[in-house]
């Protein structure tokens, strides 16, 4: 069996795990990877550095419950072994570097009167400042 990490960087939030599990039947799509999550014993997908790991015993239970092979010896058996995922701060830096000079999506959202407003129509022919601020989170 592959050596499992002793310490974990983060635990997947249980509230989100439950919500996603209910919708996805135990399989969560995260960062373009399919990850299995345990709806009862907290989310067992964890991130250590830039790698995602899981608790193998919990994984076996969940996989068994989904009718998949219980004969797992490694997270690699279900494609979970050492998935390379940039940390959130790295991804954000990457995103910021990549977005300058690129096209912003022309979204539609309701304005303060409930009327649908399209971004390109708001912008017009002059420079534009768009701010996403914290409301009620």
């Amino acid at each position: 069996m592959d050596s499992e990490p002793k310490t974990f960087y983060a635990r997947f939030p249980i509230a989100l795990a439950r919500q996603k599990t209910a919708k996805a039947g135990g399989v969560l799509n995260y960062q373009n990877h399919r990850l299995l999550i345990d709806p009862v014993n907290r989310g067992f997908i964890m991130r250590s550095g830039n790698r995602i790991h899981g608790d193998l015993s919990m994984l076996k239970k969940t996989v068994g419950g989904l009718g998949l092979s219980p004969a797992l010896t490694s997270l690699r058996d279900v494609g979970l072994g050492q998935i390379e995922v940039p940390r959130k701060d790295q991804r954000r830096d990457l995103a910021m570097n990549q977005t300058i000079g690129k096209q912003f999506p022309d979204f539609e959202l309701p304005d303060q009167d409930g009327q649908t407003a399209q971004l390109s129509e708001l912008v017009g022919k002059f420079p534009f400042i768009l701010t996403f601020y914290r409301g009620y989170w």
Partner: protein, 118 residues
Amino acid sequence: MRHYVELQEELAVNYCKLAVVSVDAPAVNDAFRAGLGARFPFLSDQERKVVKLLDMTETSKSRGVTAMPYTFSLLPDLTIHNLYCGYWYVGRPMLDELRRDLREMMRKVRRDFEGPVG
């Protein structure tokens, strides 16, 4: 948000525009906007469609998926000229930084930026 209210007069003189987005309902935005005396639009991303599309969310145990503050300086064709991640308060743009962005963008899009074109 009050400093944007201060900026709105200046923007109007330059024909530049400003809009803000929150995850609050339109009615909440309307009340907030009226209280501030703002004239620019307050958009509502209650479903968090746009903030998720742009990967501008964070996840916490207590609050679930929450939107993070960001500011974008956009050219008229929606090309991103500059952006500011406001996760930390000091990451949010000062008015002078926005003025600098607006100056640079105006220089790009207005042939008459340096005066009337002869």
